[in-house]
Symmetry: C2
Subunit: 136 residues, 2 copies
């Protein structure tokens, strides 16, 4: 049996723990992705484990290419009083968005690797990549 522990974090600790920049937290609070946390008497921010979870969620989503707006949509699943089926719909819409992004990135990757393979790699002024990019 684990005893329920009340972990608290300052802004700096939260930043380190979640793997984001210190200032980024303030920014997320400003744009409403993160809630304004309670303060100590001296005005120091006082974060809980729930803040940490939320911040990690945001960071992961951002790393995966969601815009802050899209993350906001994902967080509505968490914050709002959505019925389960609505949540599932949002999840599937996001899965579709991700599928599109994967598709675009795969094209870019193929183009870059294809061009690099064509490239002689020497010091000649001929370069397949540049030639390709300059094609009309």
């Amino acid at each position: 049996m684990t005893i329920s522990q009340k972990r608290e974090y300052t802004r700096g600790k939260l930043a380190k723990e979640a793997g984001v920049n210190l200032e980024t937290i303030r920014f997320y609070e400003k744009i409403g992705l993160m809630p304004d946390p309670p303060r100590t008497g001296a005005g120091y921010r006082c974060y809980s484990i729930d803040h940490l979870k939320r911040l990690k969620f945001i960071r992961r989503s951002r790393e995966l290419g969601f815009t802050n707006n899209e993350v906001s949509g994902l967080l509505e699943m968490v914050d709002g009083s959505y019925a389960c089926d609505e949540v599932r719909d949002i999840a599937l819409v996001n899965a579709g968005i991700i599928a599109g992004k994967i598709n675009d990135l795969a094209k870019m990757q193929a183009a870059l690797e294809g061009m690099a393979a064509e490239c002689s790699g020497g010091e000649t002024p001929d370069c397949a990549i540049i030639d390709r990019l300059l094609e009309e």
Copy 2:
């Protein structure tokens, strides 16, 4: 035999032809990616086919994930005596970054679809997706 033709473009035509936003051209001129074009008596910009090629080059490079700074580097190689292996290196680095992003996105997609499949889809406030997203 083709007769050498001197095609000219206004800013709007150039934008349309190259597939970039009109204002973006001015921006590229401001940061030096595009040269300041000659003007008509009334001050209208007057672009040539070479401007068009260069602009398309920039657009494609941007689409492939190069930053404007990197494009600037690529253009130095176009403008001056470029080294093929340097160009290839940049392309391969970007291909690697893109591969990583694809990997992460695929994981996220699988997670979202998996969660959606688990979801009961009812109207209860319990939702496997939300639970999963909030895991530490």
